[in-house]
């Protein structure tokens, strides 16, 4: 049996062998049955026929004897006719026996029978003629007893010999048939046993081969189903993750879609605002011109302020000079008061009133001196503030000059802004158009993502189905493994 034969080949080969054995056994059985049947047929067709002919011959001989005796008794011709008919039957039977009996012993018996019958017939014919003659009954009876009866006994003996022979032949044929049937049965039993042994051997070999190959295949199916199960699980997990990712992508794309629409709306607003900006820039240019004139007016006002502040500084200096005089007067007054106090003290009680006045004058001089110091501080603050203001104003004047120059730049800038804003307007319109196209593309992407999500869900369902199928396949392989290798399961 080839190693690379398939199960079909092996089973077919085994079936062919079994069929061949069955056919051989059947052929042998048919041959044996036919042999036995042939033997039986021969027995039935030849031996039994011979036996029957012998018995029939006996009967015809009896019928002929009876007809002869009837003629002898009645002298009626109809008995002679019956006797002749019986004689014809006997002759035809003898002819058939002569044809059927082929062996020498049988031919001798048939020839003896034929001779005794002929003799018997001749004697009977002679008795009949005797009866037809004027002989008496007694003479007829005597002749019958003396000549016919012995021949009749001879015929009967020949018939018995023939019957005995045929019975013996039938017995032999039955025994031969039984022996042939027994031999055929024995041969069939042996062949059946051999066929059963062969079938068992084939079944064992097939079972081993099938178990080994199917076990290997089932093992491969188990490992493959496990791998398929793992793959299906991984695919299911990946499909789930992909579904989640696609859901997030869908959300993101939806947000992107909203954002794109907002951008388009913003771009449209920017375009509108840019147009307004162009108008405002044009009006701003005129406003800048007016502002430039106002700046020039501010410059003149600043110059006036600077002049006034310088005048204020000069006035502060004059006030400081006056304050110096006041301070000196206060100091001199203080000195005079102190000296008056000294003089009053020297005058004793007479100078006490004067001392009071001097003291008050000294206090007044002290306060005036203190106030003069405060005023000096204030004047210093004023002068410092004036100086700071003058410096700030001069810086302001310079700033105004710079601002005046800047205003010209601003005017030019406004013109440039107007041009740039026009460019911006065009760009905003392009952005709006591009964003609308982008929105349309994002919507298409969203639809495509929805299709992908549907496909992913179907993939996930398919993966689940695959996983279930793999699980069932694993169970099936386990069942197969148990079927093939019970102890392995």
């Amino acid at each position: 049996m080839g190693r690379h034969w398939t199960f079909g080949h092996k089973i077919a080969a085994s079936a062919v062998v079994i069929v061949a054995l069955t056919v051989a056994i059947s052929a042998l059985a048919v041959f044996s049955l036919r042999n036995v049947a042939a033997m039986n047929d021969r027995v039935i067709a030849v031996d039994a026929q011979i036996l029957a002919d012998a018995e029939r011959f006996r009967a015809e001989v009896e019928r002929r004897g009876g007809a002869a005796r009837g003629f002898l008794l009645t002298r009626e011709d109809r008995f002679v006719e019956g006797m002749n008919a019986a004689r014809q039957s006997c002759l035809s039977i003898l002819a058939r026996l002569t044809r059927n009996v082929t062996d020498s012993s049988g031919r001798q018996i048939v020839e003896a029978l034929e001779r005794s019958e002929a003799v018997h017939q001749r004697e009977m014919d002679r008795v009949i003629r005797l009866r037809r003659s004027s002989a008496t009954i007694a003479e007829v009876t005597k002749a019958y007893d003396e000549h016919v009866s012995p021949e009749r006994d001879a015929v009967d003996a020949a018939i018995r010999a023939l019957v005995a022979r045929q019975v013996q032949l039938l017995q032999n044929a039955r025994d031969a048939s039984r022996e042939a049937a027994s031999a055929a049965i024995t041969l069939m039993i042996l062949m059946s046993v051999a066929a059963a042994a062969f079938v068992g051997l084939v079944a064992f070999v097939l079972a081993r081969a099938l178990s080994r190959q199917i076990g290997t295949a089932v093992g491969l199916i188990q490992s493959s189903s496990a791998e398929l199960q793992a793959g299906a699980t991984q695919q299911s997990t990946a499909a789930t993750q992909q579904t989640t990712a696609i859901s997030e992508i869908t959300t993101t794309i939806t947000e992107l879609l909203v954002t794109s629409r907002q951008i388009a709306e913003s771009a449209r607003r920017v375009a509108a605002i840019a147009e307004q900006t162009v108008t405002s820039a044009n009006s701003g240019e005129g406003t800048v011109g007016k502002a430039h004139e106002a700046i020039l007016g501010i410059r003149r006002q600043v110059d006036t302020i600077v002049n006034h502040m310088l005048e204020l500084g000069k006035t502060s200096q004059q006030i400081g000079g006056v304050l110096e005089i006041v301070s000196e007067l206060a100091e001199q007054t203080n000195i005079l008061a102190i000296n008056a106090t000294i003089e009053a003290a020297g005058a004793g009680d007479a100078g006490r009133r004067f001392a009071v006045v001097a003291d008050e004058i000294r206090k007044l001089a002290d306060r005036v001196s203190g106030s003069a110091k405060e005023i000096r501080g204030l004047i210093d603050d004023v002068r410092s503030a004036v100086n700071t203001t003058v410096m700030a104003t001069e810086m302001g004047s310079k700033t105004v000059d710079a601002g005046s120059r800047h205003f010209a730049d601003v005017a030019a800038g406004f013109k440039q802004i107007a041009g740039l804003v026009s460019t911006t307007t065009e760009a905003s319109r392009e952005i709006e158009l591009s964003t609308k196209q982008q929105t349309s593309a994002v919507e298409q992407v969203n639809v495509a993502i929805a299709s992908v999500a549907q496909a992913t869900r179907e993939t996930e369902a398919s993966s689940s189905q695959t996983l279930q199928t793999a699980s069932q396949l694993a169970l099936l392989s386990n069942d197969l493994q148990r079927l093939v290798k019970p102890r392995a399961a």
């Binding site: 003290a345 008050e360 206090k363 204030l378």
Partner: protein, 183 residues
């Protein structure tokens, strides 16, 4: 802007009211004993001088230097028709300064007219007796009395004018001119 709202004018109004008020109250001689001082500064050091020891306070007077070896004698000055020697109070008390003193006081003494020059006259102080911390009387230092005046702004050593006058008188009589610090 109101005139009275400005601080200077407010101060002027307060001065006017205080000055007028001093003449509206009744004269009282029952006031407690008060001591008058001149607050002066020698260089950066604050001092006090009893007003009863001062005959006159003069500012910006011209001091004419004399050819003398006395380092404390700045020169002479005229006051009310009299010629007085002017001594440098700063060098007498050990305060070194190179500025020309602007203020002088004529010391009230019967021995001889003497003037002491100093840098800054800060004002007049009238304090009660408990504001004066008296030192030991047996001290022989002529430079200053150990008395200290608790002025509102500073602790001011009180210049010992009589000791300085005694030392100047003695030095004029003996024709000596030793340095007070050497002494």
């Amino acid at each position: 802007m109101s005139g009275l709202a400005f601080p200077v004018f407010t101060t002027a109004a307060q001065l006017r009211r205080a000055f007028d008020h001093s003449f509206t109250v009744a004269r009282s001689f029952e006031t407690p004993r008060l001591h008058d001082f001149l607050s002066i500064r020698l260089g950066t050091e604050p001092y006090a001088m009893r007003l009863e020891q001062v005959a006159r306070l003069v500012a910006g007077i011209t001091i004419t230097p004399l050819p003398t070896t006395a380092p404390h004698l700045l020169g002479i000055a005229g006051s009310r028709g009299a010629i007085v020697p002017v001594y440098d109070l700063r060098s007498l008390l050990g305060c070194s300064t190179a500025d020309v003193p602007r203020w002088i006081v004529l010391v009230a003494t019967t021995l001889l007219p003497v003037a002491l020059a100093f840098d800054v006259f800060e004002g007049h102080l009238r304090v009660p007796g408990d504001a004066i911390a008296l030192g030991p009387t047996e001290t022989s230092s002529w430079q200053q009395t150990p008395d200290v005046l608790h002025a509102p702004d500073h602790l001011r050593p009180i210049v010992n004018v009589p000791a300085i006058i005694d030392w100047i008188s003695l030095s004029m009589l003996q024709g000596l001119s030793p340095s007070p610090m050497e002494q």
